[in-house]
């Protein structure tokens, strides 16, 4: 289980996270919803080691991760799909996937996982020789997810996978998230598309200006009136 306790993070004077507690149980899909600037991405970047925290603790299976270098966190089994896809545009699809397995040395395991990713995303196998920059937005998102999966993570963190994609493609991405989860990967999902995120999530947290204000199962929050008002676009009664 991934546990975050009383995490404080600040960016050059701005306190982005003010003591948050989040638990991500194994095998579940946990989502974090919130408005722009609530601190969702900050939390994810802190977990993966890209951002330094002020105080608090992040543990995975009771091992402290806070302050560890990125490669150690990745080796502990926590991978991330960065916001805005960020595929390596001038590398081929295959090279991108191999870059995802950068820290691994087991050749057979890598080959097996490559097959696994190809099964999840047959489109990537068809285009394995193509430069990633020439893929469509949805395909790039698939590649970003596939690349993260190549490190064989136990927890996959995704930052706004629906960003800038057509509704139909977004549906596809969420189907894939469910499928990955079914195959035993815990998913921590950050989304602005609260409707979609709450539908797939087992557990959901609401983050507002650096603090957790609500949490519950996905279905609970989906039915909640105040959540509907704030995040799901329901019109206020006149």
């Amino acid at each position: 289980m991934l546990k975050i306790k009383d995490l404080h993070v600040s960016y050059g004077g701005i306190r982005a996270l003010r003591g948050i507690d989040v638990e991500v149980p194994d095998g579940k899909i946990v989502t974090l919803i919130g408005a722009n600037g609530a601190g969702k991405s900050t939390m994810l970047r802190t977990i993966s080691g890209l951002v330094k925290a002020d105080s608090g603790s992040i543990t995975y299976d009771d091992k402290e991760l806070l302050g560890k270098p990125i490669n150690k966190i990745l080796e502990a089994g926590i991978a991330q799909v960065p916001e805005g896809r960020r595929v390596f545009a001038n590398l081929t699809v295959l090279e991108n996937l191999k870059a995802g397995a950068y820290l691994r040395k087991d050749k057979d395991g890598i080959a097996a996982d490559l097959q696994w990713v190809y099964e999840l995303f047959p489109r990537l196998e068809e285009r394995h020789w193509q430069l990633a920059g020439t893929l469509s937005g949805g395909e790039q998102q698939m590649l970003a997810v596939g690349r993260a999966l190549m490190s064989r993570p136990k927890v996959l963190m995704m930052d706004e996978p629906s960003l800038g994609l057509a509704p139909l493609v977004v549906q596809g991405i969420f189907d894939i998230i469910r499928e990955i989860n079914k195959q035993g990967v815990t998913v921590l999902l950050i989304e602005q598309n609260a409707n979609m995120a709450l539908k797939v999530a087992d557990l959901a947290y609401v983050l507002e200006t650096g603090k957790i204000t609500r949490f519950g199962t996905g279905a609970e929050l989906l039915a909640d009136e105040s959540i509907k008002e704030a995040y799901l676009g329901k019109k206020r009664a006149e």
Binding site: N71, L74, F88, L91, K98, S151
Partner: protein, 398 residues
């Protein structure tokens, strides 16, 4: 997967054979072409071309593959050239070379090894001196890389450019005269015109073969590096630093590896340059040289190793050989001393470069490599031929 591996193996074998053939041709040319022959310019182009090709490829490793825009190349080549020169000047002539100073370093690697191992020692001494040249350049790269690699894009370029200028100034400094000979040139060290192989009564000249061989070996090593996991990490850093970091790639470490390796080969190319020119002088390694090498990289295509090689050989051939007539009165059979006089070559050369850059936006090769392009061409030709046969067959039936 297996099929791909097989195809790759075949490609590698073909490339190896091509390179070996090329080396044999160079060796033969070296014997056949006499210095008085008009074609002797070809040898000069091969010699200087291999120096610049190695320099351009090593710069491409940094600028094209890792995305670090560094302009310190002349500085590292200077380090290489001086290291090589200082350690190969024979003791007997050292005092005449260091005319105004009391030489501090008084041993020559080829000489020391020759005394203990015979003529094989000379070869070994030269090889060690070349390696040492690379190592010195690599050491300095590591030293300045510690603070400088934290900088990005233009700032990195300015810092490395500054480093190269400082190195040049330091090497011309009078107080260092006992080591660097101050602003005077170093000469009389082992140079290519003395490289010969004596088998019985026949002597085989190696003056073009040696620099070409050095370039081929070093470029092959760079190709291996670029195609390894490290190479993939370099390219990832170039494309997206944040994503590369998220994949667990240690940015500082890989930037340093790329910088140090690139500088090592820059040092080797500097040593080869000293070998070819027969002199080493700090004044020659101005920032102009860095820009020339950058130009070769850009002309050939940033991110293409074969492009850098093609770019530098064409550059050297055009500036040293093909356009010479523009300076000396007769060009392509046209005798017009009024127009074709000193300096006109540079005008034409600049225009050609502008045209190339206009029509090949991404350089001659872009980011592709020559072998795969030739492979595609071969397939196309075969395809055309096969179609022809088929259509002829159809015609016969009718």
């Amino acid at each position: 997967m297996l099929l791909e591996k097989k195809q790759n193996n075949r490609k590698n074998i073909i490339s190896l054979i091509a390179v070996a053939l090329f080396l044999v041709v160079v060796l033969i040319l070296d014997q056949v072409i006499l210095p008085t022959n008009k074609m002797s310019m070809l040898l000069t182009v091969l010699q200087k071309g291999s120096v610049y090709a190695l320099a351009a490829v090593s710069m491409n490793l940094l600028n094209g593959f890792t995305g670090l825009f560094s302009l310190g190349h002349a500085g590292f080549m200077l380090l290489g050239a001086y290291t090589y020169a200082i350690f190969t000047i024979p003791n007997a002539v050292r005092d005449t070379v260091y005319m105004y100073y009391d030489a501090a370093i008084r041993f020559s690697l080829p000489e020391v090894l020759r005394n203990s191992m015979g003529s094989l020692g000379t070869v070994l001494g030269v090889i060690i001196a070349v390696l040492l040249a690379g190592l010195v350049a690599a050491f300095f790269a590591w030293l300045i890389g510690l603070p400088v690699l934290k900088l990005k894009s233009d700032y990195l370029a300015i810092a490395t450019l500054g480093f190269a200028e400082i190195i040049r100034a330091v090497f011309q400094w009078g107080k260092l005269g006992p080591v660097t000979n101050g602003s005077n040139l170093l000469k009389s060290f082992e140079r290519i015109s003395t490289f010969k192989l004596t088998v019985g009564a026949t002597t085989i000249k190696l003056s073009t073969f040696v620099p070409v061989l050095i370039a081929v070996v070093c470029i092959a090593l760079i190709v291996l590096l670029v195609n390894s996991t490290y190479g993939r990490a370099f390219k990832s850093i170039r494309d997206d630093e944040v994503a590369a970091e998220a994949m667990g790639i240690n940015l500082a470490k890989h930037k340093m590896i790329s910088f140090v390796t690139s500088s090592f080969f820059a040092g080797v190319s500097g040593a080869t340059m000293a070998m070819v020119l027969g002199i080493a002088q700090a004044n020659n390694f101005k920032s102009n040289m860095t820009y020339e090498i950058l130009l070769m990289v850009v002309l050939g295509g940033i991110g293409s190793i074969s492009g850098s090689v093609i770019g530098s050989v064409l550059f050297v051939a055009a500036s040293e050989w093909w356009l010479r007539g523009l300076d000396s009165g007769v060009f392509l059979g046209i005798n017009a001393p009024g127009i074709f006089r000193n300096g006109f070559r540079l005008v034409v050369f600049s225009v050609i470069i502008m045209i190339v850059v206009l029509f090949f936006r991404k350089g001659i090769m872009g980011d592709r490599e020559l072998p795969e392009q030739l492979g595609k061409l071969w397939k196309k030709i075969r395809g055309l031929f096969a179609k022809k046969v088929k259509s002829e067959e159809v015609a016969d039936h009718e």
